[in-house]
């Protein structure tokens, strides 16, 4: 789950028993209705329809060879993209918060570009940019790297769509980071590298992992950009593509089986990241 916010601890004026504000019944009713129509009923339909399929058939559809290859590729390409984002996103957040340099404002504005750009356009332009004739791809081609219609291309697109998550989760935490802590470390004799590794990095780790989780979840479900940059090869098939293929074949059982597995993988990874985040947060208190 994307990091939930924590309810305020000052519940003085919002105590449940003496809340004088009107409208709870109608707003809550509408909220529940809206979420039911959009989320609960469709998911219940999926569950009911999947339950009607013989379990053996569902299992074999969920784990046939094509689907297994797609999960594996989806997983590792999403992990690679999220990891790339964690490295470069942290670097970007650091540079944006700590330094002044020409073009800083432009960079600040551009970070959210992948949020604002439709993923189909992202896939289209990245595929062109990294193709062997593109502005970037022509130089990469010289050294034998092909960034479009390859697994690498998929990672490039997934990195693009996930980049803002890493930067934007880390940035506010870095801004709040007290320079006195660094100064204390320095005055106790720690070098810059030591300060970074044993004071700054552990403090930022839980947040970096949150960003990693968000970027990963986004990458695992991504479809639009991949349609363009994957070149539709067997080696670049991601799990959402298998769902679309099954639907085109009117194989609803197959589509459901893959969809359920994909959701299970997504939730499992988010759960693990959540635990990891809680674990690394223990080191946050200095």
């Amino acid at each position: 789950m994307p990091s939930g916010y924590s309810p305020p601890t000052t519940t003085d004026s919002i105590g449940r028993r003496f809340n004088p504000l009107p409208g709870l019944r109608i707003t809550l009713g509408f909220t529940v209705f809206y979420l039911s129509v959009l989320v609960l009923i469709p998911i219940a339909v999926l569950v009911v329809r999947a339950a009607a399929v013989p379990p053996g058939k569902l299992l074999s559809a969920a784990f046939d060879q094509q689907a297994r290859a797609a999960y594996a590729f989806s997983l590792w390409s999403s992990l690679a993209a999220a990891a790339t984002n964690m490295v470069f996103g942290s670097l970007m957040a650091w540079v944006l918060v700590r330094y002044t340099f020409p073009g800083r404002r432009l960079l600040e504005g551009l970070i959210d570009f992948p949020f604002a750009l439709p993923t189909a356009v992202a896939g289209l332009t990245l595929a062109n940019l990294f193709s062997d004739h593109g502005w970037v791809g022509r130089y990469l081609a010289h050294v034998g790297i092909h960034g479009a219609y390859t697994p690498l291309g998929v990672i490039i697109a997934l990195t693009f769509v996930g980049l803002p998550f890493s930067v934007r989760t880390l940035q506010p935490v870095l801004e709040e980071f007290d320079p006195l802590v660094e100064e204390a470390a320095a005055s106790l004799g720690a070098g810059r590298m030591r300060t970074f590794l044993s004071v700054i990095a552990p403090t930022l780790m839980p947040t970096a992992l949150t960003g990693f989780g968000l970027a990963f979840a986004r990458a695992l479900g991504e479809y639009g950009s991949i349609v363009f940059i994957s070149g539709n090869l067997p080696s670049t098939q991601i799990a959402p593509m298998i769902i679309v293929i099954r639907l085109d074949e009117y194989d609803y059982a197959g589509a459901m089986a893959v969809a359920i597995t994909l959701m299970a993988i997504s939730f499992a990874v988010l759960y693990i990241l959540n635990r990891l985040q809680g674990w690394s947060a223990k080191f946050q208190r200095i």
């Binding site: 939930g4 000052t10 004026s13 919002i14 449940r16 809340n19 004088p20 504000l21 409208g23 709870l24 707003t27 509408f30 909220t31 959009l38 989320v39 339909v45 999926l46 540079v95 918060v97 700590r98 330094y99 002044t100 340099f101 504005g109 551009l110 959210d112 570009f113 604002a116 750009l117 439709p118 993923t119 189909a120 356009v121 992202a122 289209l124 332009t125 940019l129 970037v136 693009f160 801004e175 320095a186 810059r192 979840a217 695992l220 479900g221 479809y223 639009g224 349609v227 363009f228 799990a239 769902i243 679309v244 639907l247 009117y250 609803y252 589509a255 459901m256 969809a259 994909l262 959701m263």
Partner: protein
Amino acid sequence: MNGSSQPTKDPPAIKWLLIGIVGLFSVVFLLLPLINVFVQAFSLGWAHYGAVLAERDTKSAIRMTLLVAAISVPLNVIFGLAGAWAIAKFRFHGRTILLTLIDLPFAISPVVAGLLFVLAFGAHGMFGAWLEAHHVKIIFALPGMTLATIFVTFPFVVRELIPIMETQGTAQEEAALILGANGWQTFWRVTLPSVKWGLLYGIILCNARAMGEFGAVSVVSGHIAGQTDTLPLRVEKLYNEFDPAAPFAVASLLGLLALLTLVIKSFLEWKSAGER
């Protein structure tokens, strides 16, 4: 923002090395993709660009995109305001469940979202026979595309509003009520003005995503040219044809939307920072 005034203890060599790496990365991954959209769009000249945009199917895609956004964004705004009011201003059982449900679209692939609606309302869907008997078409038509878009975009407004409304607490609303305002007056004159920048922020993010959604809409649209194709779907169709500039011409409209979104977003951030 005020980080720049802090004394950095990084050696200048490290500082400029890091800036260089980030700069190069940003140029390759952010700036060039943006510029490339427009350069490719005009690679066969202005006349060609105009001709692609004037095609009947492109115009229909523009209409469809605007229509889907015009329905789904206002609904998400109403949901956002209602949901944030209930969740931020009150404490009740099941509140965390609601929050989890609101976050769910972030963890579910848009393709799966589309599939959910096909399974429910498609020709072979659970309610398919009933819908057909009553001549209601949801899948491969506007209602399904709108539902799929709403599914993918509904968290944006509400997630933006909840933290703001929580921080503001209920003291101001209580004061208004004590002074004799009724519920609506309190909402319109006290709550809404205090969340307006956050609300607008959520709206433009929601709108950008609604107009640009591909996966969910692709699954439920049926790809009927001139009827159910939205702009992103039109881009895909043109990509599979022979004209290399045509998909970019249509994509440039969405690129402009992205740029506009970024500009408004920066403006709103500047506005709300000024008021704090």
